[in-house]
């Protein structure tokens, strides 16, 4: 019978909290939601998405104040898992105060959740999803946007840099068997073969793999000019470290997944030689507008920002501007999500990384790709080349 008593107690609790919640009438609160992995192995990057967005909310939230709206950030954890992401998404579209999503980190999760967002016209601006299909599907064409590049542009850009600057003849292509890494490596390999570069080895390694010796022992003998890695910095740094430990001096080339301060931490500063990665943004230290961003970020979160933090900042900025336009037109009535989604496609402003404007698919209109050469510290990263489409 104790069960019964506690049951009644719980019921009372719920009822009274319900009543209390109804009684509280707050001013209109609007929410920007970041949806990224906050627990698990990818939580470090997932968190920078949240931090970058937080700074944008702090800096630009006041844009919405004239329309009697208070902007807050709500951070959701998708655990890098599509099932969890979809469950969250179903909850988020039911919350009328959510104006848009900044996320995801994993393309696999974004592919699943965008189908849900699309039902309620909830706009998503992704700082990290480079899978071409994200903006190519008819069902989600109105709401899926991204401020980062696409694999089918990034891969060929890396290849053209490799052929023109590194003059590579024989290469290895490795991918981490994730949606991001395999997509990027595939596009890169396709472009390389077309350009007549000899691909000695093309293989995947599980994303949790830490042992690259079966590949690297072969590289000791075959001496490829370039090892291309489609994957994330945590594995890329390790690959680099093990390469140099086996005295392999090949160039390591990768995509924007390598763009993190952790790359240097994992690989060790002494091993950073001939490491290049592509990015839509210049290195942070070369962006004049990013200076105060970096400082605020460091004091607030006690970490150095990476590319995803900057991209999230710009993405959130775009979302806030689009919402302001929508509220202005509607004279501060309830949020019209379809209108916000349409306005996102119309924004055009100077973000930290350059001009932020979207084409009619939702891809960023960036006309160029930057190849960055990694330095011994992240602050010493420098631009190696600028590849125009």
């Amino acid at each position: 019978m104790r069960l019964k008593a506690s049951f009644i107690a719980v019921m009372f609790g719920v009822l009274s909290t319900t009543a209390a919640t109804i009684a509280l009438s707050a001013p209109q609160v609007l929410k920007i939601v970041t949806h990224s992995p906050l627990s698990g192995a990818q939580s470090t990057t997932g968190e920078t998405i949240k931090f970058g967005t937080q700074l944008a909310v702090d800096d630009f939230g006041k844009i919405l104040e004239p329309y009697n709206a208070k902007l807050v950030l709500q951070a959701e954890d998708d655990q890098s898992n599509p099932t969890v992401g979809v469950a969250n998404a179903n909850r988020l579209i039911g919350d009328a105060s959510v104006i848009g999503i900044i996320g995801h980190f994993n393309s696999g999760v974004a592919m699943a959740t965008t189908e849900v967002y699309a039902k309620a016209n909830l706009v998503m601006i992704s700082p990290a999803n480079t899978n071409p299909k994200i903006t190519e599907r008819a069902s989600t064409s109105k709401i899926a946007n991204r401020v980062c590049g696409r694999d089918d542009v990034q891969g060929p850009a890396a290849q053209s840099f490799m052929s023109s600057h590194l003059k590579a003849k024989k290469i290895y292509v490795i991918n981490d068997k994730t949606a991001y890494g395999s997509g990027l490596a595939q596009e890169f390999e396709k472009a390389s073969r077309k350009a007549g570069v000899q691909v000695l080895l093309s293989t995947g390694v599980d994303e949790k793999e830490t042992d690259f010796s079966s590949i690297l022992n072969r590289a000791v003998i075959e001496k490829p000019d370039v090892i291309f890695f489609g994957g994330i910095y945590s594995q890329g740094g390790l690959l680099l470290k093990q390469m140099r430990q086996k005295h392999i001096e090949s160039v390591l080339l990768g995509g924007d997944g390598l763009d993190s301060a952790e790359l240097q931490t994992i690989a060790g500063a002494a091993n950073i030689r001939n490491v290049y990665f592509t990015s839509v943004a210049m290195p942070l230290n070369q962006l004049p507008k990013a200076k105060s961003f970096i400082e605020t970020y460091k004091t607030k979160f006690k970490k150095s920002p990476d590319g995803f933090a900057v991209a999230s900042y710009d993405a959130a900025h775009a979302l806030i501007l689009a919402t302001a336009e929508s509220l202005k037109a509607k004279k501060g009535q309830a949020v019209d999500r379809a209108d916000i989604a349409a306005n996102v496609r119309k924004v055009n402003f100077e973000g930290l990384t350059g001009t932020i404007a979207f084409d009619n698919k939702g891809d960023i209109k960036a006309a160029r790709y930057v190849v960055i050469e990694a330095g011994a510290t992240p602050a010493q990263n420098k631009t190696a080349a600028v590849i125009t489409k």
Binding site: S39, G40, A41, S43, T44, K177, L201, S202, T203, G204, V205, D206, K208, E209, T210, D211, S213, S214, I215, N217, R218, V220, I221, E222, S234, G237, L238, K241, Q242, Q245, H247, E262, T265, I266, A267, G268, A270, N271, K302, K303
Partner: protein, 322 residues
């Protein structure tokens, strides 16, 4: 041309496979020791391994590398520290997760399994949170040049001091455990409990103490294994335990779970198979099948072995009591 590359690769592949195998063997011992006395798969063992690795690496980064001790002494101290930390965690896991379950009747053998999974999650996230307070996640093994120096046996077999150290230490640990279990009174008691708990208790052996001993010994080994793992692969983080844990568990079963020589044999075999598959699959199929299929090869081999010998390579088939 292709075949010649294949032959050239063989020595290094075997050497790296051996290093991997030693690592698996060390972790597999922990599974096998606990299974021997309790008949329980300790799911949290992989996290004990991870805690040891993290503690060892932190010790090296903050305490040992700033000193001017010889790299080997630095490593030895880090191994000891990691071993003790991991043993303490293993003791705690036994005391606060498995013991309360064992002392309740009717819990079956599944409840400990799920508890172990719960403990695993708690340990992983606790370590991650702890590290995040310092803004850390990936913990790189500090660059100590000595370990990277190499010794060329032949043109195609170039051994780094690191691998030599891992082989030496790994062999030492395994011999030590073997001696401990087979040559000492504690070992005798442990084996007695493993063979027949009730008979051992009748003879005055405190089975509870032996259970704790199995956990602590397995934990100590796993902790040192964690440091060797970080040394070999270059980094460790709060989630590094999972994959080696599953592989070592596989190794323990391959060799015959509960059997100490079996765990060693299983570990080394598994390491070699994995490395051979990773190297030769893309080479032999000309890239059609990449290294990513190596886990399939591993598991298929395992299933084959178990079909021929249902209790593993060195496991003794148990006479079933009717």
């Amino acid at each position: 041309m292709e075949t010649s590359i294949g032959w050239q690769l063989l020595p290094m592949t075997l050497a790296d496979g051996l290093s991997l195998g030693v690592m698996y063997a060390i972790i597999a011992l922990g599974y096998t020791l606990v299974y021997g006395v309790l008949g329980l798969i300790n799911f949290a063992h992989s996290e004990v391994f991870m805690v040891g690795g993290i503690v060892g690496v932190e010790l090296l980064i903050y305490v040992l590398t700033p000193t001017s001790l010889h790299p080997l002494i630095q490593l030895a101290l880090a191994l000891l520290g990691a071993g003790f930390a991991a043993a303490a965690v293993a003791w705690g896991v036994e005391r606060y997760a498995y013991y309360p379950l064992r002392s309740r009747p009717g819990s079956g053998s599944l409840a400990p399994l799920i508890t172990g999974i719960g403990v695993s999650l708690v340990l992983m996230d606790t370590v991650r949170l702890f590290e995040s307070f310092f803004g850390h996640f990936e913990r790189p093994f500090p660059s100590i040049a000595w370990f990277e120096e190499t010794y060329a046996v032949s043109e195609h077999l170039i051994l780094s001091y690191k691998s030599l150290v891992i082989w030496g230490l790994g062999g030492g640990f395994l011999a030590l455990v073997h001696g401990l279990v087979n040559r000492t009174r504690w070992g005798l008691a442990l084996r007695a409990v493993a063979q027949d708990t009730h008979a051992a208790m009748l003879l005055g052996i405190e089975s509870r103490k032996m259970v704790v001993l199995a956990f602590v010994l397995g934990g100590f080994l796993a902790g040192m294994g964690g440091v060797l793992y970080a040394l070999q692969f270059g980094k460790i983080n709060a989630f590094s335990g999972f994959v080696p844990g599953i592989k070592a568990f596989t190794a323990a079963v391959l060799g015959g779970i509960g059997s100490i020589p079996g765990a060693v044999l299983g570990g080394i075999l598994l390491g070699l198979i994995e490395m051979l598959a990773g190297t030769y699959l893309p080479l032999l199929t000309d890239g059609a099948i990449g290294s990513e299929y190596k886990d399939i090869v591993t598991f298929l081999l395992l299933i084959l072995v178990l079909l021929c010998r249902p209790t593993g390579l060195l496991g003794k088939p148990k006479a079933e009591k009717v």
